[in-house]
Amino acid sequence: MEKVDVKICYGTMCYVMGGSHLEMLKDHIPAEWADRVHISASPCLDLCHNTENGKAPFVSVNGKIVSEANIEKVISTIKVVIKDGLYQ
């Protein structure tokens, strides 16, 4: 089964605007999904330069952009992907 690809933006803008706590995302992924989610730290995803993307911090979940990201928002997006197989 293909894994859900979660990229956390570690660009300075995202970090300063409150993204640092996303480092703890891994600890909050429900155990039953652990082997279905791949989390990686990415250098600047270059999303902050376009206001249409919303505000930092950004996380990409299978290409779907989560703006003003927090752990809850990211997990619910992962949930949608796992349940409905969206954004592949």
């Binding site: 300075t12 803008m13 970090y15 300063v16 605007m17 409150g18 480092e23 730290a41 250098p43 600047c44």
Partner: protein
């Protein structure tokens, strides 16, 4: 403990916007910032209307320019004028923290409130037991007269339905020294003769009504000037950006600083001298010694704990030693300290070697304003020995560990750490000289967790602790 919330993020956006205008020499556009951040048709409004938001933003910028909000003489004075005054100024007004009165009116005047769970019962123990006769019944529910209420809390304890609740006033609740209190209008005021600049109220206020006055203008003016500017960075920086120290140092250079020094190297000096001083003091028969590197604690001793004064170490702080190194190397340089701390600003004003004091939050905002991405910077570091023992200063317990490292093995040391200074700890410390305890070395940090949890941080303290851990064992 500092955490991220909307009030914090708005402050970071303000710092970024202001820094960008200063860097680009566009300060004449400063009055546009509140308009851009709160457009007339903005939907998401947590204050009453965009106009109120703009007014609050204006005053928050005034604080970032280094002014006390209470010093406003004419409401019509545009930010442009304040910006010019900030550039021309040679001295700063008293205090580090300032209250944005426009934003501060939302807290209940008294701590006890009757909720709509009140059944208007027959027994009415709240009313019967109120020592000040402050409770009446209106439309079948209890009502507290704020003019009579003395916040004793008896009514809350008496109510069988738990219908009376305690509503804290966040800033007053966290202030360890009762330096902030309401005036007749219900607006908070800081008494600078009591304030220890710890910044806890700033972090606690949900309305962003307390601001630390910034030295941003002076710092950026200095970078633009001919004279060299040296950044000296506190040990806790290693937990602030998910990057190697070299990358952070090179990012700071991209901002225009000529050199970057780790305060951890000054911390090695502090630890060495403090270890020596401890040995001497114990030989002289002194009962105990406390650390001196936390400026909020040192101010608390001066203003509130005279009985502890003689026990505080006389060793200068890591910031002092590092700034001195910088000035000895380059006598005409301007030194800018970057740290997690707000109280450091008042220490810096007294220290002849320190010119400006900034926070990590401001540093992060400067990176964003200048478009510097820390992870894209080279991790090349200048050669030389790493100040590992000095880096330990960043978290609670670390100063003791570092001092222990420089003490002879046979030293009789019984240490204790005050991890976070609150009202209780202050009472304890005041009593300590009279207590019969074996403890002879007390490390005091005003912020719980140590400097990595300071009010001026960017990174979540839990994450910072993880990032720092790899430097702790090296």
């Amino acid at each position: 403990m500092a955490y991220t919330n909307n009030a914090t993020l708005i402050r970071r956006e303000l710092i970024t916007r202001l820094a960008k205008l200063i860097m680009d020499d566009r300060l004449d556009e400063i009055d546009r910032i509140p308009l851009e951040m709160a457009p007339r048709n903005s939907k998401q409004e947590s204050r009453c209307c965009p106009h109120k938001t703009r007014a609050v933003l204006k005053y928050r910028i005034m604080a970032l320019l280094g002014f006390n909000i209470a010093d406003e003489d004419d409401e019509l004075t545009p930010l442009r004028d304040y910006a010019q005054r900030a550039i021309d100024r040679t001295e700063q007004a008293e205090g580090v923290l300032t209250v944005v009165d426009e934003a501060c009116t939302s807290c209940h005047k008294k701590n006890y409130v009757v909720s709509n769970l009140c059944r208007g019962c027959v027994a009415r123990p709240c009313m019967m037991n109120c020592p000040k006769d402050a409770i009446n019944f209106v439309s079948g529910q209890a009502q507290i007269d704020p003019d009579k209420c003395v916040n004793c809390g008896i009514c809350k304890n008496e109510c069988p339905y738990h219908a009376i609740i305690y509503v804290p006033i966040p800033c007053e609740e966290v202030c360890p020294v009762n330096a902030i209190s309401k005036d007749e209008e219900g607006i908070e005021h800081i008494d600078y003769s009591k304030c220890i600049d710890c910044g806890k109220c700033m972090i606690a206020c949900p309305f962003g009504a307390i601001m630390a006055k910034s030295q941003l203008v002076g710092t950026l003016q200095s970078i633009k000037s001919e004279k060299p500017t040296v950044a000296i960075v506190a040990p806790s920086i290693l937990g602030q950006f998910k990057a190697e120290y070299g990358q952070i140092a090179n990012a700071i250079k991209q901002l225009g600083f000529d050199e970057v020094l780790e305060v951890a190297s000054g911390a090695v000096d502090t630890a060495t001298h403090e270890a020596e001083e401890f040995g001497e003091k114990m030989d002289e028969g002194q009962k105990f010694m406390t650390t001196s590197c936390c400026p909020a604690y040192v101010q608390a001793v001066k203003k509130h704990m005279p009985e502890v004064n003689e026990f505080v170490s006389h060793t200068p702080t890591p910031m002092h030693y590092t700034a001195k190194m910088a000035k000895e190397k380059m006598p005409d340089c301007t030194t800018v300290f970057f740290g997690p701390c707000i109280a450091k600003q008042s220490e810096g004003r007294m220290d002849p070697y320190v010119d400006y004091v900034m926070t990590f939050e401001e540093l992060g905002s400067l990176f964003v304003a200048k478009g510097v991405d820390v992870l894209n910077c080279s991790d090349e570091t200048p050669e030389g020995e790493l100040p590992v023992t000095g880096r330990w200063f960043a978290e609670s317990g670390g100063v003791t560990r570092s001092v222990l490292n420089y003490l002879p093995e046979e030293t009789n040391i019984k240490q204790m750490a005050i991890n976070g200074l609150d009202k209780k700890q202050i009472t304890f410390l005041k009593k300590f000289p009279k207590l019969k305890m074996e403890t002879n070395f007390i490390e005091v940090m005003a912020c719980e967790g140590g400097c990595i949890s300071g009010p001026g941080i960017v990174c979540n303290p839990k994450v910072a602790k993880r990032l720092l851990s790899k430097y702790m064992t090296k």
